[in-house]
């Protein structure tokens, strides 16, 4: 279990994390979701003993990150934001090096990395610097796993990787999770949140909400409408200036809109938009996603 209590971290005058409290259960696939600058990487570096907190404490399977940092370093797998591979070493050499650093060998724990490594094995003689983003990511994951850690910490593993590789990567994480390893993963992509068991929504150094993705989506407190017309730009401006509208965000080809009045309905909204001269107006009620919840919480926070 990872227990994060009252954690604050400052860099000079800049406060990167403020009073974070989290509990991550054994064997859980836990997501830290938030935009750049939310403090995800800082929190992960605190967990991996790379930073000392200004306040509060973290225990990783009851080991204290400051006092017991040496013990933690034997049992944590960490994949930093930049894929930390040696560009001038081949795929195989990278993996062998990381294995030996942890006093292990590729053969010892091959079963654990087999699924991941087999996909890049055809390129094992290739230098890591010449791999595609997706392959680098798989190699970095193999390297972080090769010593059979208790806890795996992945800092934005899918950033800058193509959609297919991202999907494959999450499937691999699910398999790794089945071996009993606790996984903490951060991502700026809201759509990846639903793949985690539980997520913490983070913003500007604070945790806005912690729950399962389903519960977070269900807890969306307002009716949500998806709106579309033939002139999206004018639509956005009109919705923003409409006094009945509480919030509006562009969401793919639709605008996601909530109303001030809880009893407001689609027909009124549609009618007022047609008054503004919009054609082909389409309004439908929709289910909130993680991103809607995130935007809603951010709005609350800013008010």
């Amino acid at each position: 279990m990872i227990s994060i209590q009252n954690i604050s971290k400052n860099f000079g005058d800049v406060s990167a994390l403020r009073d974070i409290n989290l509990e991550i259960k054994d064997g859980e696939l836990f997501g830290l979701i938030g935009p750049d600058g939310a403090g995800k990487s800082t929190l992960m570096r605190l967990m991996t003993t790379l930073y000392v907190p200004n306040q509060g404490q973290i225990t990783m399977n009851s080991r204290h990150t400051v006092k017991d940092y040496k013990a933690i370093r034997n049992h944590v797998g960490y994949m930093p934001g930049k894929f930390s591979l040696y560009q001038d070493l081949s795929v195989e050499e990278n993996l062998a090096f990381y294995a030996s650093v942890f006093g292990s060998t590729i053969e010892d724990n091959y079963d654990l990395v087999k699924d991941v490594y087999e996909q890049i094995a055809p390129f094992k003689k290739r230098l890591a610097g010449r791999l595609s983003g997706g392959m680098k990511q798989k190699l970095a994951l193999s390297c972080a796993l090769i010593h059979r850690p208790e806890i795996l910490i992945l800092d934005e593993p899918t950033t800058g990787v193509d959609a297919v590789s991202r999907k494959e990567f999450w499937e691999m994480l699910k398999k790794v999770q089945k071996t009993g390893i606790t996984i903490v993963v951060s991502t700026p992509y809201m759509d990846e949140a639903s793949l985690c068991d539980r997520v913490a929504l983070m913003q500007k150094g604070e945790v806005l909400k912690v729950d399962t993705p389903e519960a977070i989506m269900k807890s969306f407190p307002k009716k949500l409408f998806a709106v579309k017309s033939e002139n999206q730009y004018a639509l956005l401006n009109d919705l923003k200036s409409n006094e009945h509208v509480y919030s509006v965000f562009t969401f793919g080809q639709y605008m996601h809109v909530t109303l001030v009045d809880e009893n407001g309905n689609m027909e009124d909204l549609s009618a007022s938009l047609q008054e503004n001269g919009h054609e082909e107006v389409e309004v439908k009620q929709t289910d909130a996603g993680i991103e809607d919840m995130f935007m809603y919480l951010m709005n609350l926070e800013n008010e």
Partner: protein, 368 residues
């Protein structure tokens, strides 16, 4: 132990796969020793002189002949009048004008006394001094021969012998100096850069979050460079010996041992630099500025320490190459044993201990 070997192996991959590193490692020492040996020489060789001799005689011709056959001077031209001297100096080729007085040979016979004037281009003072000394030396020895022949006259006969470097070859000076310079630069720069590279690439972050101890990381990074720098030291000694004829009079084993000691010193300095430098560029600049210039200027490599202002003499005492240069000069040229260089050796050991202590202390087990 297995971790350590894996680390060293990885480090060797880095070195051998980067042709720029290889070039610096092995190209630079050879290029530098050849450059210093051939180009930057303070030896006199084929210096052009002009002669004004209004009354050519046996004496003046024998003198000119002596000057030429010494190998130091070449007579570029004979002047028609002493006033041409200035114009000739301005052209820049001729460094010295020798003016014999009219009737030199006759005066010598009649009055037992003759006059020769030397005009020397001293725009390069060292060179001017050398030219002056060499010319006077040759004239003096000619005079001695003249006097010897007929009758014995009194006076003190000074006979100097240049010990340990009979020909006063400056390459004897440059080989030890260059060795210090190269070992210092290569060892310190390469280690500091390679550690800074791990920081820059983010791989240091993973190494930190591994069970590796700081000392293991440092030793793993440094070991390959110890081996490669040692090869360099051997190369320099062989080159110095075969190409420039610089002897190794003392014990070769002692010389190698001292070189190894100096390599360790430079490496520990490199590690210390890398604890302060976050990027490869910073590491390189610190290494170049903090090491190269002091090594060249303050170590007694080119400029004698005794003639420096007092404060610089103190500064030069904390320059590691200064002591190393003393040691290898003593071993190579004077054939000294450990009993003569133990003090300098102790100083080097003390410096290593200090640098390693500082590095391990400053090595960060965390990010900042």
């Amino acid at each position: 132990m297995k971790r350590f070997f894996a680390f060293v192996k990885k480090e060797f991959y880095h070195i051998f796969r980067d042709y720029r590193t290889l070039l610096i490692l092995f190209g630079m020492p050879i290029a530098q020793i050849l450059l210093f040996g051939y180009v930057i020489t303070t030896d006199l060789k084929d210096v052009k002189i002009a002669v004004y001799d209004p009354t050519p005689s046996e004496v003046s011709q024998q003198l000119v002949h002596k000057l030429e056959s010494s190998g130091y001077f070449i007579v570029d031209q004979y002047l028609n009048s002493p006033s041409e001297a200035e114009a000739i100096f301005q052209k820049g080729d001729v460094r010295e004008v020798i003016i014999f007085e009219a009737g030199l040979a006759e005066n010598l016979v009649k009055e037992g006394k003759g006059n020769i004037q030397l005009l020397i281009d001293a725009s390069d003072p060292n060179m001017g001094n050398l030219v002056n000394q060499y010319t006077q030396g040759i004239i003096r020895s000619y005079q001695a021969e003249m006097i010897d022949a007929p009758a014995v006259q009194g006076g003190i006969n000074v006979e100097s012998r240049m010990m340990f470097n009979t020909d006063l070859a400056s390459v004897y000076m440059f080989v030890p100096g260059t060795m210090a310079l190269i070992l210092m630069l290569i060892s310190a720069m390469m280690t500091s850069i390679s550690i800074a590279r791990e920081k820059e690439m983010g791989t240091m972050e993973v190494l930190l979050v591994s069970p590796l101890k700081p000392l293991q990381i440092i030793l793993g990074k440094v070991t390959p460079y110890v081996a490669l720098s040692f090869i360099n030291a051997v190369t320099i000694i062989i080159l110095g010996n075969t190409v420039f004829g610089v002897p190794v009079k003392g014990s070769l084993i002692l010389l190698m041992g001292e070189s190894l000691l100096f390599i360790l010193l430079a490496l520990s300095l490199g590690i210390l630099i890398s604890t302060a430098a976050k990027t490869q560029q910073v590491a390189m600049f610190i290494s170049l500025f903090a090491l190269m210039l002091p090594t060249i200027l303050l170590s007694g490599f080119i400029f004698p320490i005794e003639s420096m202002p007092e404060i610089l003499q103190y500064i030069s005492a904390i320059m590691p190459p200064r002591w190393f240069i003393v040691i290898i000069k003593n071993i190579m040229l004077k054939g000294a044993g450990i009993t003569f260089v133990w003090q300098e050796t102790l100083i080097l050991i003390g410096m290593i201990t200090f640098f390693i202590f500082m590095s391990v202390k400053k090595f960060k087990i965390r990010l900042e």
